[in-house]
């Protein structure tokens, strides 16, 4: 395994080096929360967080995004495509659970006859530098779903905090190219790896909750009409925050903004938790109550998506558990289903 090592006080220099050649997105402290933002200097990046409020999907699939613009006059209509990014980008400091989520989004947006070029182009131009989790939160459950605090999926480099130093694991060619830019990085030694291994094991052991998900998809096959749905949605107020903050949710709406002479077509995040999401022009709504809408969210993650793509589409980041205003806990739902 190839890896580099740097002192913690060299982190700013490291990020500064990146900003020379790349457009860099990194966690930035905004009041009491951390958000991923474009930065121009290493000192703007802040790694003292447990996780960013918003998952990194917003870097590739922003909450609002222009699809094209239009101009109309007597002569006709003119449409202008949105230019795709041409600069190289770095997404710095995302957690392993969120990097894994991007792997699912990649598979989804590149699937089928129509590729989502806007997402894919941004993704392709981006090198991902992850940051391992030394102290997972009480809401974290990545280990139940195939991830881990030091997981490496979906990243080009992984930074591991080994007390006074960062071990930088090189996980792809793209990652290797990036570290070549920074000649002062030293090669890691065996002792560094050993320490990282120990810290990784400690981190993993702090996630006490381990839900058995073996056979979960199959279990759901017969759960569509289960009485359980009549109960679990009752306290949900349908705010949709679980889906907006979910690193693997991607539903969107498309609408026009403008006047009869000029404007733009945009897509904005939407959620299956809203009644209007599926309301048809005829007045019929196939998901008329919170029951059907919660069932859709849970079934999509653990049954529908896995049918097409082979994997459960939840990474256990715990954002939906933390943010829910009525303390609905997806882990409890999974456990309830497994016990039925």
């Amino acid at each position: 395994m190839k890896a580099k090592i740097m002192d913690k006080n060299e982190l700013q220099d490291f990020v500064d080096e990146l900003t020379k050649d790349y457009k860099v997105f990194a966690p930035v402290k905004m009041n009491r929360i951390f958000r991923l933002k474009e930065i121009s200097k290493g000192k703007e990046a802040c790694l003292g967080y447990q996780n960013t409020r918003q998952p990194p999907k917003e870097i590739f699939f922003p909450q609002t995004e222009i699809l094209f613009t239009y101009k109309m006059d007597k002569e006709g209509v003119e449409l202008e495509d949105i230019p795709l990014p041409n600069e190289k980008r770095v997404l710095f400091g995302i957690r392993p659970c969120d990097a894994r989520a991007l792997v699912f989004l990649d598979r989804f947006f590149s699937s089928g006859d129509y590729k989502d070029i806007s997402y894919l182009e941004k993704r392709e131009k981006t090198t991902i530098i992850g940051l391992a989790c030394n102290s997972p939160l009480s809401t974290c459950f990545c280990t139940s779903l195939g991830g881990s605090p030091f997981g490496k999926e979906g990243m080009d480099l992984l930074l591991e905090d080994i007390n006074e130093k960062y071990l930088i694991e090189i996980l792809s060619e793209q990652g290797a190219k990036l570290v070549e830019h920074i000649p002062w990085l030293k090669d890691a030694e065996n002792a560094d790896f050993e320490r990282a291994k120990k810290i990784s094991e400690e981190a993993e052991s702090t996630i006490k909750l381990k839900i058995a998900v073996e056979g979960l998809r199959k279990k759901f096959d017969s759960m569509f009409d289960a009485p359980l749905w009549d109960q679990i949605y009752q306290k949900c107020i349908g705010c949709g925050v679980c889906t907006y903050l979910c690193p693997t949710c991607w539903c969107f709406d498309i609408l026009d903004e403008g006047t009869p002479t000029c404007g733009r077509r945009v897509r904005i995040w939407d959620t299956c938790q809203f009644p209007l999401f599926t309301l048809e022009a005829s007045g019929l709504n196939p998901r008329p109550s919170g029951k059907e809408r919660m069932r859709q969210r849970v079934m999509h993650k653990f049954n529908y998506f896995p049918k097409d793509f082979g994997e459960l589409v939840c990474v256990g980041c715990g954002r939906c558990v933390q943010a829910c205003p009525v303390n609905l806990d997806i882990r409890e739902i999974i456990k309830a289903i497994m016990n039925t």
Partner: protein, 279 residues
């Protein structure tokens, strides 16, 4: 790779009012770019996203037949923001089209068989595309008997009156038209579609049924077809579901793991039996 959300510009050549209250119109369109027009190959039962810039876009079934050369038709009911904007258009106005999307009616599986078309009200659009396709002189002999059972609330609500009149005169198909309640001067049947379907009792031998209509019509027509001996894999339904992107990305038209926009809108009754009851 190109931006899949970017429409092509089309010119409205003709607007036909389809009903007495004038809230359903058929728009005949021609693409501005002849190259686009040439490459727009579709099958009956597919749909396209129709845009009015500034108002938005919505998915509409293609009402013309692929055999109609040089133009596309969409029959649109005025019901929301986009459809109202479209209804306010005049001939010569320019709108956006992207598509065609969806699977369409499975023509290959229907060839060599008797075809029974069952439609209700405003949902007759892609069934009309199918009927016109089958009735085209170059296609007619690839299909056996054609029966069309089509109903609406009253005679004024039946779409495509010219086609219906022409079909009534042809000897190579059986057209059964019905309205919900007796109206003076009406020569067709009176009664709901499922009742008239039962009464007409088209043979299920070597036959395929294609249905589209309001949910209540579908709900009561399926048992009739089953009773007539149509197996579940020979009953085809074109489904309605709220859509936005039309290409399986925006995530709203799924029934279980299937997306109505890309895996449908046409499903067999057998497929639907295996899917969650959420449509």
């Amino acid at each position: 790779m190109t931006n899949p959300y970017l429409p092509n510009i089309a010119v409205i050549k003709k607007i036909i009012s389809e009903n007495e209250v004038n809230d359903i119109k058929t728009f005949e369109l021609v693409f501005e770019d002849p190259e686009i027009a040439k490459n727009f190959k579709y099958r009956p039962g597919q749909f396209a996203e129709v845009s009015f810039f500034g108002a938005g876009e919505c998915p509409i079934g293609i009402a013309s037949s692929p055999m109609d050369e040089g133009f596309l038709q969409f029959t649109i009911k005025k019901i929301g923001v986009v459809t109202t904007a479209l209804h306010n258009c005049k001939e010569g106005d320019k709108i956006g089209i992207r598509g065609p999307y969806g699977n369409g009616w499975p023509i290959e599986a229907m060839e060599g068989r008797n075809i029974v078309i069952v439609g209700g009200g405003f949902a007759f659009t892609t069934l009309r595309s199918l009927a016109k396709y089958i009735l085209h002189e170059r296609n007619r002999e690839r299909f056996k008997e054609l029966t069309i059972i089509y109903g609406a609330r009253d005679p004024g609500e039946l779409l495509y009156k010219q086609d219906l009149e022409m079909w009534g005169k042809r000897s190579d198909l059986n057209t059964v038209l019905t309205i919900d309640k007796e109206v003076a001067g009406w020569k067709g049947k009176v009664g709901y579609v499922p009742t008239i379907l039962k009464e007409s009792a088209p043979s299920s031998k070597d036959a395929v049924a294609a249905i589209c209509g309001p949910p209540v019509m579908i709900k009561f027509s399926i048992p009739v077809l089953t009773e007539l001996g149509f197996p579940a894999d020979k009953i085809l339904l074109s489904l309605e579901m709220r859509m936005k992107c039309g290409i399986g990305k925006c995530g709203r038209c799924n029934i279980g793991s299937k997306f109505v926009c890309k895996d449908g809108p046409v499903f067999t009754q057998k497929e639907l039996q295996e899917m969650p009851k959420e449509h």
